[in-house]
Amino acid sequence: MTGDTRTDCSGVRNVIEVEDLTKVFGTITAVDHVSFEVREGEIFGFLGPNGAGKTTTARMLTGVIPMDGGSVRILGHDIRREPVRAKQRFGVVPETSNAYVDLTAWQNLMLMGDLYGLDRARAQGRSHDLLETLGLYERRDQKVQGYSKGMRQRLILAMALLHEPELLFLDEPTSGLDVQSTQMILSLLRALNADGTTIFLTTHNMEEANRLCDRVGIIRSGKIVAIDAPEKLKTAIDRVHRIEVSFDREIGGDLLSGLAGITGAARTGDKWQITAENQDTAIRSLVSFSRQEGIAILTLNTLAPSLDEVFLRLTGEERS
């Protein structure tokens, strides 16, 4: 069951194709002509401040709410024209647990099995494995209303994975969870991705996005303001790069400032903070300089902005 999917220039298939996606609530344009692609096998982080349009976008992508304009193709299926076929191939983990609290974990999973058209033997086998993996098997016959938040979140992840989807949508999957549940979920996501599952992750957690995502898209006031790999975003945001370096003996600042690619050098304690327009050229110059002068480099760190800083810079521009 494959849809008609396009590939990018590197030959990788796009599993999500969004063009001019728009959603209007009254007089407010919550999502404003958003376009992006998510490639097969990647973890794509969708970041933005509260009210930026992240969850609205994710809900339109998953066919939960209708779009007012644009188009969305999921695994080659137009979500408006073929919603059932598209939904059959992805799983959704929303921010708030939405398992049936009056049912047991096992009954919830069997219901999902029925809704995804799985035969009973396969549904039972998958449920057993997932509950074991997520540490819920012993509590499988307990009603969900007795579960902690972490257990509920793990259960809805199991419910989303029951039919072995090719694509997984997650909305703040670890928000407010204990360390154990967070680690369990993150390690499962990594393992799923390693096995080929594409992941679309909506999150506030920059550290999580930084560690998990191959690419991130940042949305502000309903518009995409940046899409790239986290490291590229970090380096792209500052035209002037900073490098922190220390040597095994004293060096004059004028010597460092004169090196190729270096625009300035300032002493901070026992280190030098170098400013450079081109990070790569500056590092090469520093290494050549140390070799020529017979000076050992003790430490060398590139001081790229954190993803937090990138996020704040890109999403705060409107306010500044």
């Binding site: 809900r59 939960v64 209708p66 919603p83 049936y100 219901l111 029925d114 809704l115 419910m159």
Partner: protein, 251 residues
């Protein structure tokens, strides 16, 4: 497997029905309401000193039982699920809105028929002869479908506050009982009353039940069956169409 195919969607609707029965119908208060509510209404009229024949009152009791039980829970399921966010879970699953509505209707139909069977047993225990069993069976099945569709129509306003829907539901259900020949025989109704009665599917069901037990009827049996089928089709189609439009507004 074509997940969007009719047979697959019907299977998934059955999964919804099983879930509804487990969560919403198999609860003590719901069962008690379903059985006691019509019984109390019946007793109120039976002891009211109007000297109506038992066969007439029991026909009315069956009509009320099926009507109240088939519409007791179904109007509140969408608001409950919207409130608990489980509706969002269903919306993200490969199941159409029509299949969700059908699933809710199936649960409601089974509940209505189950409780009405108890009333039928009471009628038989009181010595009422069942003259036309097939007509009664067909009428119960059709009316259960029709009333369940009414229940789903009552759930259309996109509110996630169940009490709002239940209030609206009571506002529509009680007047319908009074215009449907349950407490006042159709023969004794004024012209304006009859005009209202023909607009209510409950009228045809009650008259069919009366025919099944006594052989007497007001409208031709075939017309009554056809009217119930027509109401069922129209209400079901309307419920499915309207829920498809309003469901996203519950998210």
């Amino acid at each position: 497997m074509n997940p969007a195919g009719t047979s697959e969607q019907v299977r998934r609707a059955w999964a919804i029905a099983k879930k509804d029965i487990r969560i919403y119908y198999s609860k003590g208060p719901v069962l008690i309401f379903g059985i006691f509510m019509p019984v109390f209404l019946f007793l109120a009229f039976f002891m009211g000193g109007r000297q109506l024949p038992l066969a007439f009152l029991l026909s009315g009791l069956m009509g009320m039982t099926l009507f109240f039980t088939s519409t007791a829970v179904s109007p509140a399921i969408f608001p409950w699920e919207g409130q608990a966010r489980t509706l969002e879970r269903l919306a993200a699953c490969p199941i159409t809105t029509e299949a969700i509505v059908l699933g809710d209707m199936i649960a409601s139909i089974l509940f209505g028929i189950g409780v009405t069977a108890v009333t039928l047993l009471i009628a038989l225990a009181l010595g009422l002869p069942l003259l036309h069993g097939i007509v009664l069976g067909s009428a119960v099945l059709l009316a259960a479908c029709c009333f369940s569709a009414i229940g789903m129509l009552l759930a259309v306003p996109p509110t996630n506050v169940p009490s709002n829907i239940m209030m609206l539901s009571s506002l529509l259900k009680f007047p319908l009982v009074f215009i449907s020949g349950i407490f006042v025989p159709l023969e004794q109704m004024p012209a304006w009353g009859l005009l209202l009665a023909v607009c209510s599917p409950l009228t045809y069901f009650t008259d069919l039940v009366r025919y099944s037990f006594t052989g007497a009827h007001y409208f031709p049996v075939a017309v009554e069956i056809a009217m119930l089928a027509l109401f069922t089709l129209v209400f079901t189609a309307a419920a499915m169409h309207l829920h498809r439009r309003t469901m996203p507004r519950r998210m």
